[in-house]
C-alpha cells in the first residue's frame, strides 16, 4: 500500500478517443522511474491526471496516500511538476518567478529567499538569476522549469520530458541532477531518450496505445527478454574448405545455440550470428568449436538486449515474462 504513487485502472477518454486504457502501476518511495512510450501513447495525459490538471474518466490515482481527485490540494502540495514545453512567464525575472512559485507552494516568507538560492545553485542558474525569462535560451528555460519543480522541496517530482530539445552536454548535466534526486525524492519522469533513462532510472513503466505494456526494474525486464539473445562472431575458415553454410550448421548445433546465420564480412571473413537458446552462455563452447575445426576467430561478443531493443520489442507487443508488477 505504501507506494508513493499508485495508479489503478486509470482510464481517460477524450471524446471518442481512448487516451489511457486501464493503466495500473505504482512507484515506490525514493525511486527514479522512467515513463516510456511512443508519442501519443498517453504519457502526458497520465501525468496530468496525477497532478490534477485533468480528471480521469475512471480509475483511481493516489499520491502519497491521497487521492488525486478527492484531496487535490494536498496532492498538489506534494508534487513538483514540470510540464512538457516548460511554460513560463516571459515578463518575469528568474529569481522573481521562483520566489513567486515558492510562495504559491506554501514556502514561508522568511524561508523563500533561501529556497530560491538553493535551487538556483543546484540547477546552475546563478548567472541568469536577474535575467528576464523571455530572454533565456532553451537550456536555461528547462533548468528554470526544473528549479521551479524543486523549489518547495516536494517529496514527489513529476517531470514530463525534462531533457527534450537540449544539447548533449545539457542532457548529461540534467540527467546527473535527476540522478542526485533519488532517495530523498520520488521521481517519475517521462522521456524518449532511452540512454539517459537507462542511466538515471532503475525502473521503467512502458506505455503504448494507452496501455501499460511493462512496469518493472530494468534488470528484470532485460532478463525477461533474454531469449533471443545473440552472439556475434567474425571468423575465417581458411584452408579447411568449409563454406558459410557449413559454418552456420556447425555453430547452430553447438551446445546452447538455437540457430546460426552467416554473412560475408569482406576479405574472406564471415560474420556469424548465433541465436542462443534460453539463458545460456555458449561462448566458451563456440570458441572451442572454432579451434577444433581449425577456423580463425577474430571477434566474439554477446549482444545483450539494449534498452532500445527492449523498448522496441515491448512496444511492438512482445509479451513480458516479468509481468506488470510494481515498478
Amino acid at each position: 500500500m505504501c507506494a508513493m504513487i499508485e495508479v489503478e485502472n486509470l482510464t481517460k477518454w477524450y471524446g471518442n478517443t481512448l487516451a489511457v486504457d486501464r493503466a495500473t502501476f505504482s512507484v515506490e518511495e525514493g525511486r527514479i522511474v522512467g515513463f516510456l512510450g511512443p508519442n501519443g501513447a498517453g504519457k502526458s495525459t497520465a501525468l496530468r491526471i496525477l497532478t490534477g490538471f485533468l480528471p480521469a474518466t475512471s480509475g483511481q490515482a493516489r499520491v502519497n496516500g491521497r487521492d488525486v481527485l478527492m484531496e487535490s490540494l494536498a496532492v498538489r502540495s506534494s508534487i513538483g511538476y514540470m510540464p512538457e514545453n516548460v511554460p513560463l512567464y516571459p515578463e518575469m525575472r528568474v529569481e522573481e518567478y521562483l520566489a513567486f512559485r515558492a510562495g504559491l507552494k506554501d514556502v514561508a516568507s522568511p524561508k523563500r529567499r533561501a529556497a530560491v538560492d538553493r535551487v538556483l545553485e543546484r540547477c546552475s542558474l546563478k548567472e541568469v538569476r536577474r535575467r528576464l525569462i523571455g530572454q533565456l535560451s532553451k537550456g536555461f528555460r528547462q533548468r528554470v522549469g526544473l528549479a521551479e519543480a524543486l523549489v518547495a522541496d516536494p517529496p514527489v517530482l513529476i517531470l514530463d520530458e525534462p531533457t527534450i530539445g537540449l544539447d548533449p552536454t545539457q542532457i548529461e548535466a540534467t540527467s546527473k541532477l535527476i540522478r542526485s534526486l533519488g532517495g530523498k525524492h520520488t521521481v517519475l519522469l517521462s522521456s524518449h531518450l532511452l540512454p539517459q533513462v537507462e542511466k538515471a532510472c532503475s525502473h521503467v513503466v512502458i506505455i503504448a496505445d494507452g496501455q501499460i505494456k511493462a512496469a518493472d526494474s530494468l534488470d528484470e525486464l532485460k532478463k525477461g527478454l533474454a531469449h533471443g539473445q545473440q552472439v556475434v562472431m567474425e571468423l575465417r575458415t581458411g584452408d579447411t574448405g568449409d563454406g558459410p553454410a557449413e559454418v552456420a550448421r556447425a555453430l547452430g548445433q553447438a551446445a546452447g545455440a538455437a540457430d546460426a546465420s552467416t554473412d560475408e564480412a569482406g576479405g574472406g571473413w564471415l560474420r556469424a550470428v548465433v541465436t542462443l537458446a534460453a539463458d545460456a552462455d555458449p561462448r566458451e563452447g563456440l570458441c572451442a568449436l572454432v579451434a577444433q575445426r581449425g577456423w580463425q576467430l577474430r571477434e566474439i561478443h554477446r549482444l545483450a538486449p539494449t534498452i532500445e531493443e527492449l523498448y522496441a520489442r515491448i512496444v511492438a507487443g512482445e509479451a513480458v515474462t516479468a509481468g506488470k508488477e510494481a515498478a
Binding site: G52, F53, P55, Y81, P83, E91, M92, F100, G103, L104
Partner: protein
C-alpha cells in the same frame, strides 16, 4: 489570503510591463480628455463632470476589454495555466487575484482623470458631492466591466476573441435599455418586458451616481453582477476538472 495577494501582485506587475496596457491607458486618457474639454470644460458650462462621467461609461466599453483580454486567455494559450492550476491554489483564489489585478490597473488608469477636478476647481466652483459619487459609480462600473472582461478571457485562448466577446456583452448590457425604449414600439405587454430590461441595463443604475445620488439599489446591482460574473469564471476554470 496570502496567496491571493501574491497572485495579485504578480498580475499587477505583469500589467505594468505590458505595452498593450499602456496603450489602452493612453487611449482612454486622450479620448476622455478630449471629451472632457468639449463637454464639461466649456466656458459658461456648469462646473461639474456629469457629461464626462456618462461618456466614460461608453469609452470604457471599448477600453476595458482591451485591458482584460490577456488575463486568462494568454495563460491558456502559452500553457502557463497548467503550472497555475497544478499549484496548490484554489480556482477561487486564481479568479479573485486576476480580477483584483485588472481592477487595480483600471483604478490606476482612472487616477489621472482626477486632474479634471483640479482644473474645474481652478476655473470654477464645482460641487464636490456629485463628483465624488460620480467616481464611486466609475469604480463600481469598472469592477463590473473588468469581471465581464475576465469571464470572456476565460473561455478562449485567443486574446482578440476575448476582447470582442467582452465588448459585445458590455454593449448589450449597457445599451439594451435605452435602445429598447427608443426602437421598440409601445404595447402593453412590451412595457413590462421593457421595464425589466431597463432594470438590467447598466445605464439605468449608473446615471444617478453622476448626479450625486448614491442609491443602495445601484450599488447592489454592480456588486451582485460583478460577483455573478466572477462566479461564472470560477465555474469555467472548475469545468476543466470534469471535462
Amino acid at each position: 489570503m496570502g496567496k491571493v495577494l501574491l497572485l495579485t501582485r504578480r498580475e499587477i506587475s505583469a500589467y505594468f510591463v505590458s505595452p498593450i496596457a499602456y496603450v489602452a491607458m493612453a487611449l482612454f486618457l486622450v479620448v476622455a480628455g478630449i471629451f472632457f474639454a468639449l463637454a464639461d470644460f466649456r466656458p459658461g458650462a456648469p462646473a461639474g463632470m456629469r457629461s464626462i462621467f456618462d461618456i466614460m461609461m461608453f469609452i470604457l466599453i471599448f477600453i476595458i476589454p482591451i485591458v482584460t483580454m490577456r488575463s486568462l486567455s494568454e495563460e491558456q494559450r502559452s500553457g502557463t495555466i497548467e503550472t497555475l492550476l497544478t499549484a496548490p491554489v484554489t480556482d477561487i483564489q486564481v479568479v479573485v487575484a486576476k480580477f483584483l489585478g485588472s481592477w487595480i490597473f483600471y483604478l490606476a488608469m482612472l487616477a489621472p482623470t482626477l486632474i479634471y477636478v483640479v482644473l474645474l476647481a481652478a476655473f470654477g466652483n464645482p460641487e464636490y458631492g456629485p463628483v465624488a459619487s460620480g467616481y464611486l459609480g466609475l469604480v463600481l462600473l469598472g469592477a463590473l466591466y473588468v469581471s465581464i472582461g475576465l469571464l470572456a478571457s476565460s473561455v478562449t485562448e485567443n486574446q482578440v476573441i476575448a476582447a470582442v466577446t467582452a465588448f459585445v456583452i458590455l454593449i448589450v448590457l449597457a445599451m439594451l435599455g435605452p435602445w429598447i425604449a427608443t426602437v421598440v414600439p409601445s404595447r402593453w405587454w412590451i412595457i413590462g418586458v421593457r421595464a425589466i430590461i431597463q432594470q438590467a441595463t447598466v445605464r439605468t443604475h449608473y446615471q444617478d451616481f453622476s448626479q450625486g445620488v448614491v442609491d443602495l439599489v445601484h450599488v447592489i446591482y454592480f456588486v451582485a453582477l460583478t460577483a455573478y460574473a466572477l462566479f461564472l469564471t470560477v465555474k469555467v476554470l472548475e469545468s476543466r476538472r470534469w471535462r
